[in-house]
Amino acid sequence: MKPRSAGPWFVAPFLILFALFFVTPLGYAAYLSFFQHKLIGGTVFVGLDNYAKAVADPQFLRGVLRVATFFLIQVPVMLFLALLFALALDSGLMWLSRVVRLGVFVPYAVPSVVATLMWGYLYGQDYGPFAQLSRTFGLPVPKFLSESWMLGSLANVVTWEFVGYNMIILYAALRTIPHELYEAAEVDGAGAWRTAWSIKLPALRPALVLTLLFSVIGSFQLFNEPKLLQTIAPNVIDSSYTANLYAYSLAFTGQQVNYAATVSFLLGAVIVVISYTILITANRRRQP
């Protein structure tokens, strides 16, 4: 009996902080989403009206659609690159692998605010390096910050930031593969590519699912990069460009804190649904 009673004590510090900084704000936001605070008339209980409004809100739906598109384009590219780098590093055939590993990881160490500001400068129409290069060669200046290119430009920044992070996770997973498998493969006459395809990729499945889940959450919550580029492209990135940006604008520009809480919860629900879909699909494949 005695050893069991020690368990809760070890978990208690975490649980207290979890309750205080995670559960309580969530509960409060949920509570807020059932009310509406008007400038004239104060706070009023409105039940599920906010939710009904949000589900039909074209700005919210557009924002969600946009991050969904972003997810479908950017995440496969980023994970593919991360996988490529991880496999290349693990194969032992790469020169200066330590330098490359550090180099690919360094962008993750750069705060996203700094990274976005830097890329914003690089994308600049008048004084950015790409613009100046194009002008030197007499080519048309690439319109990185125009409406049609903006999502791609944002995807580029996010990929640059997170390839290293995902690569490290995949690389760590590769390092746990027992060496006997490689030796057996070598005896069977498998080369580097065949080893990668038949041994490494299947072993990477859990790590890939993990990085995919992180990417779902990260893409749907996209906020930093659009918010920072909004200052230089205010007519392209409007206040509801992404769902999270919409929630922020509602709260701080429109002073509609209750509706912002509702939008946040709905966004959270979308993320939960997609994450579970991925998890279930990934696990189902395991049972032939």
Binding site: K38, L39, I40, G41, Y121, G124, Q125, D126, Y127, E147, T231, I232, A233, P234, N235, D238, S239, S249, F252, T253, G254, Q255
Partner: protein
């Protein structure tokens, strides 16, 4: 600096005279028994004021005015018991966001804040600004330019803030570019449009001006000039929204036409690219406020000596008018624990000859007080950046033509965001801004109704 001591004595006398006049005025008003305006709140007695100013107090003042400690030092010299802590909580919108958050949270709000004219209704609708009449503020009305007093006054005659600086709109133009292409200074908007086409045809890299597609403040200033009244507040919860009025459509189709023809720029202002454009002569004019000349001389050093100032082109040359862009006030928050000290500070900061003079020489604010506008050393200033022209005199005269009737909505942040996403976007994308005006009107009306206002003109 040597003027400090005589001014110090003079200002104390002036203040006491003003306070005395206020008390006398209050006594007379009481004697006359019921005037035309709504009854003022009871005056705080001079004895109470003196006592509060001698009690050690700390005031927190949120402002983004650079290096305002020197003006604050003058106040602290006069009232050594009061310590004023100046905090920069952000410039403009970020500060207002923090202020609203602090007010809603109930703690963390300062005693005083710098609030621009256009944001005053956003805070009075929250009932968060202190009426300064009990502290002698209404005696100061005559010192200030008329339209500024209208901006800080409430519907029942309350005085919610003391004007600090203003921004009447005028036109800064490049004399050398005009001379090189034989363009006369446009006096009407038609002349301006013709000049824009002529200039761009002759020099494809140069535009007559840039209408920033993210600058709702400039838009409001220009429709103010056109005599428009987009927002009318009557009482706390009644509002008339008419952002797509005939005057607004006139302005929208004018600028939409020029943008569509490609003879003006529509780039975002106050960015690196825009500064570079001003320095390189891409834009031949800048339609800006009275704080523009000082700002330009700091940001476009490469073009020193080439700029001049003139009034905005007019819709009706016989009736010159202008609008205002920017300018701030000092307001006292109702939540303050030291109302008397805060009210005295707000009034001192913006009426004391010493501090107001410093505002023009150190911060380059454009004055809101009649005295300083008429002061020869201010009006006679002839900076070399403007080829020796007396720019302050030009803008001072423009300030007299600003209509005093313009009102702002109690949700300016929302109005500005919606403008940028409708009209601003139409200008940037070269689509129809008049149709965008209709969208803006719909968005604002829906928002106002949602927030519990009774909306006319929906």
């Amino acid at each position: 600096m040597p003027e400090l001591v005589p001014n110090h004595a003079l200002s104390r006398r002036t203040f006491l005279a003003a306070a005395g006049a206020a008390s006398l005025g209050a006594a007379l008003a009481a004697c006359s028994g019921g005037g035309t305006a709504a009854p003022a709140a009871e005056r705080v007695s001079q004895a109470d004021i003196d006592k509060a100013m001698a009690t050690p107090t700390e005031l927190v003042f949120w402002t983004w005015a650079p290096e305002i400690d020197q003006e604050v030092a003058l106040f602290q010299q006069k009232y050594p018991a009061i310590k004023v802590k100046v905090q920069n909580a952000g410039q403009g919108t970020p500060q207002y966001t923090k202020l609203r958050t602090a007010l809603q949270a109930g703690t963390g709000a300062p005693d005083l804040a710098q609030i621009e004219f256009q944001y005053i209704p956003t805070f009075t609708v929250l009932d968060s600004l202190l009426d300064l009449r009990p502290y002698g503020a209404d005696a100061l009305k005559a010192k200030f330019v008329d339209w500024t007093w209208g901006q800080v006054s409430g519907p029942n005659g309350e005085v919610f803030a003391i004007p600090q600086d203003t921004g009447p709109m005028g036109m800064l133009y490049r004399q050398d570019i005009f001379d090189a292409h034989g363009i006369a200074v446009p006096k009407t908007w038609d002349e301006f449009a013709a000049a824009a086409r002529k200039l761009h045809a002759a020099a494809p890299d140069v535009y007559l001006t840039n209408f920033a597609a993210n600058q709702a403040a400039a838009w409001h200033g220009l429709v103010w000039q056109a005599g428009d009244k987009p927002y009318t507040l009557s009482g706390k919860s009644d509002i008339k929204i008419a952002v797509d009025s005939a005057a607004a459509r006139k302005v929208a189709s004018y600028w939409g036409g020029l943008a569509g023809e490609g003879v003006i720029g529509t780039e975002t202002d106050f960015t690196d690219g825009w500064y570079a454009a001003l320095n390189s002569g891409k834009y031949a004019t800048w339609l800006t406020a009275a704080w523009g000349p000082a700002f330009l001389s700091g940001s476009a050093k490469a073009t020193a000596g080439k700029w001049r100032a003139a009034p905005l082109p007019q819709w009706d040359a016989a009736k010159p008018s202008s609008g205002n862009w920017g300018g701030s006030t000092t307001a006292v928050l109702k939540s303050t624990k030291n109302p008397i000290a805060a009210a005295v500070f707000a009034q001192f900061l913006n009426t004391d000859p010493g501090t107001t003079k410093m505002f023009t020489t150190k911060q380059f604010f454009f004055p809101a007080t009649k005295a300083l506008l008429a002061d020869p050393s201010f009006a006679g200033d002839a900076p070399a950046f403007y080829g020796g022209q007396k720019v302050n005199e030009v803008f001072g005269a423009i300030g007299e033509t600003v209509s005093p009737d313009f009102q702002w909505p109690p949700f300016l942040d929302q109005a500005v965001t919606d403008w940028t996403e409708t009209v601003g976007k139409a200008l940037a994308d070269k689509t129809d801004p008049v149709a965008a005006l209709g969208q803006w009107q719909t968005r604002l009306t829906t928002f106002a109704k949602n927030q519990g206002f009774t909306v006319q003109g929906g």
